[in-house]
């Protein structure tokens, strides 16, 4: 293994989040939520926000790092970073960037954060109310292909066609998230269980996605503080190391007008290989998985492309039992995820991946290796693997 690796060189010091709200229900504006999540993460780590020297985010977060650093009185800003690309594809990518900065000595204490108040700034699920459109959007919007669900249903339909995937496989993903959320009091859908019958009766958003195949639209913020591995034991939580990260996309994944050559993909085929190579692990080593649900179909493809299941086996693999904590084959989205905990652009899933290593999840799986997959079907996508002391 080359020395050019992040394996075991960065640790998590603390995590923080705000209360999670349905869109429009936050009493606080987005920038305040963001500050609150960062302060909470610092409290969790037992450090002062003044000691943060790096700020990393993704998806064009409106709360820019230098401004956050100023508001928090950070003593010195050494790393200010935005991961390119929309959607949640940068959730693990921001962890990757922050980890790279720490491993290279650019910064010592970096917060990865995301603030998102869709009530304040507009819902992702709406199409643009504009008079004219030019450029790539001109090839799709006038035909009523406007939202993320509509963008991705086209890919998932093709994948389901190629591999004979049944709707029940998507349903199992939704049911697993809702089942896990019933044990997570912080989840927006806590106390709102979902039955298979309710799923079947729910309305189509765009085939093959029913209402419960789609992520929520929420208000909130989340943050993760990262430090050099040498300091892993200086904080209240047990060590949790970054074992591997990878991001990007395959050849021309971002080609316009749905022209990616390998189209029916979540865009992880090359990313997953690099992830496992850096972590020196294989899918069999992964104890628990958080996989970003923009839409269930993307989760399905991402799990296939990370090698957990062959494409021809998805109908047998994607069952509620297999995806349930604590003893399913692959416990999935154990906080309730984007579907049922909160759509915090995947950073909530990242925090849950870390909680599994810390044994603080409300759906605990005895995990030493915990993976998070971010933003299927966008470009770039990203993934990260965390590990306990035993894996280092």
């Amino acid at each position: 293994m080359t020395e050019r690796s992040l394996r075991g060189r960065v640790a998590v010091a603390g995590v923080g989040q705000t209360a999670y709200y349905k869109h429009g229900e936050s009493p606080d504006p987005e920038s305040k939520l963001t500050l609150e999540a960062i302060v909470n993460a610092c409290k969790d780590a037992g450090i002062s926000p003044r000691d943060l020297d790096g700020f990393a985010s993704f998806s064009n977060d409106r709360n820019d790092g230098p401004r956050m650093a100023a508001a928090l009185g950070a003593k010195e800003l050494r790393f200010s970073n935005m991961f390119w690309g929309g959607g949640g594809g940068g959730t693990a990518g921001a962890i990757e960037n922050a980890s790279a900065a720490i491993a290279c000595g650019i910064a010592d204490c970096v917060v990865v954060y995301r603030g998102l108040a869709q009530g304040q700034f507009g819902r992702f699920g709406r199409g643009a109310e504009i008079r004219t459109v030019s450029g790539d959007g001109a090839y799709t919007l006038p035909y009523g292909l406007m939202s993320a669900a509509q963008m991705f249903a086209m890919k998932v339909t093709r994948f389901m066609h190629e591999h004979g995937v049944r709707q029940d496989a998507l349903k199992s993903i939704a049911l697993a998230s809702y089942r896990h959320a019933q044990r997570n009091p912080a989840a927006v859908r806590y106390g709102r269980p979902l039955t298979p019958e309710q799923y079947d009766a729910s309305r189509w958003i765009v085939e093959p996605f029913r209402l419960f195949d789609c992520c929520q639209e929420n208000d909130g913020a989340a943050a993760v503080v990262l430090v050099p591995a040498e300091r892993a034991r200086d904080f209240p939580h047990p060590p949790c190391y970054v074992l591997g990260t990878a991001s990007g996309g395959h050849y021309r994944a971002a080609a316009p007008s749905h022209n990616a050559p390998d189209y029916a993909s979540s865009h992880f085929k090359t990313v997953a290989k690099r992830l496992y190579a850096m972590a020196q692990l294989s899918p069999h080593d992964v104890d628990v998985l958080q996989s970003y649900e923009n839409f269930t179909g993307g989760v399905l493809m991402a799990i296939v492309e990370h090698g957990f299941c062959a494409p021809e086996d998805v109908n047998a693999f994607f069952t509620l039992e297999n995806l349930s904590a604590p003893s399913g084959r692959l416990p999935l989205n154990t906080s309730g995820g984007n579907l049922a905990e909160c759509y915090m652009h995947g950073l909530g899933l990242t925090i849950e991946a870390i909680r599994q290593i810390w044994r603080t999840s409300t759906n605990p799986v005895d995990a030493d290796v915990s993976m998070m997959i971010a933003g299927p079907m966008v470009t770039p996508v990203s993934s990260v693997i965390f590990g306990s002391e035993a894996t280092r």
């Binding site: 008079r131 001109a138 890919k155 339909t157 007008s257």
Partner: protein, 148 residues
């Protein structure tokens, strides 16, 4: 104007200000599909770019393409995400592969009963949906099942 498949009020397409795709939109108004073709390697690419992604030539033009294709994927939309579609009901968007243009793909609507089954791989032919009364006027590239 031809009968439009979707209700009016969605964003209207306009050629990009830098002129990159102007020939495409102008051709549609004449009931023609013209897509970008590289004069270096002779291959089509879509959407248009200032450079050929295969041979990196900047010498690109637009050429006429046979108005036939096959359905590569599709989706039936039920939930309206735009105010113009509030009373639309379901509609079908297709991703059409063009065998006469190196299998590049274009997005359009599949005309006809929106509730009818859609077969991936089915042959389709182009329909030019003119919005002459719009200001500025524009034409959409739509599709119908072949052989009708």
């Amino acid at each position: 104007m031809t009968d439009a498949y979707l209700k009016p009020g969605l964003p209207a397409p306009a050629a990009s200000r830098d002129g990159l795709d102007a020939p495409f939109w102008q051709a549609l108004a004449r009931n023609e599909i013209q897509l970008q073709r590289c004069r270096g390697c002779g291959k089509f690419q879509w959407g248009p770019e200032w450079i050929c992604h295969r041979c990196l030539s900047f010498d690109l033009g637009f050429e006429k393409v046979e108005p036939v294709g096959r359905i590569y994927s599709y989706e039936r939309v039920w939930h309206p995400v735009h105010s113009a579609l509030k009373d639309q009901g379901p509609y079908v968007v297709v991703l059409v592969e063009l065998p006469h243009a190196n299998d590049v793909r274009v997005i359009g609507n599949l005309l006809g009963d929106p509730r009818a089954p859609v077969a991936i791989g089915a042959a389709v032919e182009a329909v030019f949906e003119h919005h002459e009364d719009a200001k500025p006027a524009f034409t959409l590239l739509q599709w119908r099942r072949a052989g009708r």
